[in-house]
Amino acid sequence: MKNPGQSHVPRQTQLILDLTSARVQVRARSGGNPTHATRTGLLGTFIAWTCCLIAPAHASAPLDLDALRGRVVYLDFWASWCAPCRQSFPWMQAMKNTYERQGLTVITVNLDHDRADAERFLRRFHPDFAVQFDPQGTLAEHFKVTGMPTSVIIDRHGIARFTHIGFRPADREAYTMQVQELLAEK
């Protein structure tokens, strides 16, 4: 019922961020300095994923990262009681919707002590990215989570390239840039 009427984009428009394409056409300076983003690059933490079939005790399905080889994985550890974790949800949803077709997979690991709290939160948010449950914190131990939330951005070869502790609204642009960078790598 809808035919898309395109609006004219006046000549002097400067396209600054086209989320539709993989590459950022105009390199936008990231807003604030990325919070405590430890750029772990190739030389950084080198967590080999060869063995990577990690089977946390209570997770509904083992976190099989090897199956995701070739895709960029945004792995986020969160809990329902943690305010910055809640703030990151809309943004993670947006990232999944935008970059899923370009190869991004968002996986979140819930670390709530009892699952009812997590379920209550998820009912309000309807996120459509994966949520693993890890009440014992097995995965959190494995990834040495030291703060909440902790997000690990893993490149197509399974190497953790960036690790972030905490989530500030101002971090969104910086994290988006890093995801796009890894998406662009083959």
């Binding site: 305010a83 809640r86 703030q87 809309p90 002590h113 030291t146 703060g147 502790i165 905490g166 609204p169």
Partner: protein, 435 residues
Amino acid sequence: MQLGADTRGVRRRLVAATCALLTASATRSQATPRASIDEMLSDWRLDSALAYYHEDGRIQAIEPVVSVSRDFGDGETLDLNFTFDSLTGSSPNGALPSRKPQTFASPSGTSLMLAHHSYTTAPGELPVDPHYHDQRFALGADWTLPLTRLTRVTVGGKFSDEHDFLSVTADASIAHDFNDKNTTVSLGLFDENDSLSPIGGAPVPLSDYALFEKTGHKSKNGAGVLLSVTQVMTRTWLTEFNLSADRFTGYLNDPYKIISVIDDGGDTVGYVYENRPQSRTRRSAYLENRVGWERASAALSLRYMSDSWGVHSATAQLNLRQWNAERDKYLEPTARWYRQTAADFYTPWLLNSAGPDVTVASSDSRLGAFRALTYGLKFGMKLNDKFGRDDSELNLRVEYYQQTVESAVPGPGSLQGLDLYPSLKAVLLEIGFSY
């Protein structure tokens, strides 16, 4: 829809329906301003309370307190608070009850005859100034800035203004988290500067009350340090241990307090203004334990304090909070036990024969030895669905506070049989709202 019918009405009803939808969604987005993006971002919090304090036969006070805090999302927070006190009623002037009626001039008087107010206390009654009234207005602010993920600095200030007392306080503290934020050590300093302009002027210490020898303004200032260690013991048990010390110097007297001078027969022969040492050093240790269960929590705090005026006090407070099944209403009974010894220079009266070698003396009951018990009950109710915030709350609190004097020295002669140390009974009612 047949044409020709009142289709103009259609547009009107359509506009109305659209407005209803969008205003509903707009108000919803107002209630949680950036609804979709950071629904849970509680950037602004409001804590407010209206307290009514009433002493048995003495003063009563109304105290609204409003605190607004902003969380900038990365550990940086700003807290602004506002307090207003309005006190009225009768305040003990420090004199003893007597077999004979006693007449006093209110502080603003320059002599018994020319006093704006004078008041007479019946025999056997505790002398209290019935015209006591006071209004205080205070503003405070605290700003916490994270230096790193584990270290943060807090700077704060407080300004408090009464017609006869102005106080400005500044404080700063630095806190650092150890082993995965389980241990937090913080060190804080504060500096307070007060200026006093008592009604009718500050009396010459220990001068004869009847002479009304008054001088001008006075000031006092204080500084202190607070070392705090917070330790997470288990997933449901948190402990805080504080050590603090402070030192105040300057005019520490209460300009309106007088001491009865009695003869050996116990009869009051006159009054002198009190005098306290010019400095006071206090040290205190404080331990707070909080334990949480599924639908309950308990807090036990202990405090020990001793100061250079010879006052040693011990305090214990227990709060038990029990939520209902849906976890949206709670009851919180509280109990507090307090005990203090008297200041070295505390004396309910001065003997006429004591002569001039008395340098410091005060009959202020707050420096005497007493025990105090507080029983309280608080009822709280979450309002989360109405305001879209999961921690907005309405609560009611009532507390009953009673002081009983200890090691009371019986009065000589005619004072026998008089209740020289009437106990203080008070009730506090408070309604609170936080969003």
